[in-house]
Amino acid sequence: MDQPMSEAMYYIFLALLSPGHGYGLMQRIRELSGGRVLLGPGTLYGILTRLRKDGLIRLEALDERRKIYLLTDQGKEALQAEYERLKRMVRDGAMLEKGEDEA
């Protein structure tokens, strides 16, 4: 992935470290974000479709009408890269805390 992930996509990646289907993912994301990130089913479905097309997730199993997805190796790499980017950003912004202490 060349572009930074959106917040929704980042949490979908995190949620898909273990297999999950649409509704389950929505609940998992809500828990992971402490109720802060609430994905609409249309938004989630659109992102899942795109990620599957890009080879970042794959179909793990079928449960009646529901499809269970999992991150691919490429997806895991993308998530790791995004995590490193976010860490760097937080580190670079650490001066803000220092500034506040000095103030």
Binding site: L38, L39, T43, G46, R65, R66
Partner: protein, 389 residues
Amino acid sequence: MKRCYLPQPGDHAIGETERFYTRMAEKGWLLEKRGAFLSRFRKGEPVKALYRVELAPRAGLGEETGLPEEQVALYEDCGWEYVTGRGLIHVFRAPADAPVQELYSDPAQQAETLRALRTNAWLTLLQVPLLVALYLLLTAAASDSFSAALMNFADEWRMSFVTSTGLMLFFLCFLAANLYFSIHAAVSLALLRRRLSKGLPIDRSGRGQKAHKITAGALLLLCVLSLALCLAQVGTGRTSPLPKEADGPYVLLEEAGLAGERVPVFLPDREGKIERSASLLAETYDLYQPLRTDGGAGYALFERVYALRFGSGEDIARALQGKALAGQAGGDGWSTAAVPGLDRVYLAKNGMEAVAVKGRFAASLTCIGGPPDDTTLEALLQALGQRWG
């Protein structure tokens, strides 16, 4: 069970559609089925419900357009009930007080779903111009040049307007309405996409539609009025046997000095008759007269006279030539001639056809039969000149 059908907002009007179904439910009419232009509602208890439209992706060749099962299952898991769908438009419902999540938490993601609808809107918009262009290309291929094809096209339209004003007005109103609705749909979708891409949700307030409603209403009213005019014009058509003497701005073979019996010649069982019709722009006389002379010669006269209410007969002279046999054989089959009493006469080189013009009158005559040195056509033209005064 009580049911009703109502016209629904267009496919492009997503916010308006959701609002329409929500308001109907508040009145106790619950959406049951969505058709091409009408929605079917079932009478029930008034309920406060949320209706949301989801768009299906464009189907591939041989595939049926619809939402994937997985998507419907996900929405149902989230509390949205699938109600009905047709083509690209699919409708979900949820009780207004239920803790359901909006389908799209990110409007920009929803903007992506408009793609198939936008393609449809552009295809509809381009339909008419493409058909006209195709028609012109095909006629140009059959004509000497593109300009000749354009002239033929203009002539055809002019003649159609003269003879079938009501029908042509209806056709034009229908085209104008079609074009307006297509442009409105394409522009609305472009604006909706921009709105969603900016992160703003769909507008379901129903505001800002006044100008569109007035324009659409006016166009539909024009369509209805022109259709009424068209039907009224159909009622003016009258076919009758040929009178003994001309009772209108046309001539009969007897006026060319021929005497005989009006019995079928050349075309068995085809009796003489005259058809009269009137449009807003002209009165038309279309007659066929067979004649067996006392000497045994057979004649057949095909005559079409236009008494225009506006403009000059010269305006349709070229179109009349184009409709004649000589005109269909090629553009070089005509020469002009001077006939007393007429402004202009075009004679076909086949010797059988003529187009005559005087003031607001124009006529095409085809006279078949008689001896080879026959001057019947010329005599008919002179009689026509006198008739038109």
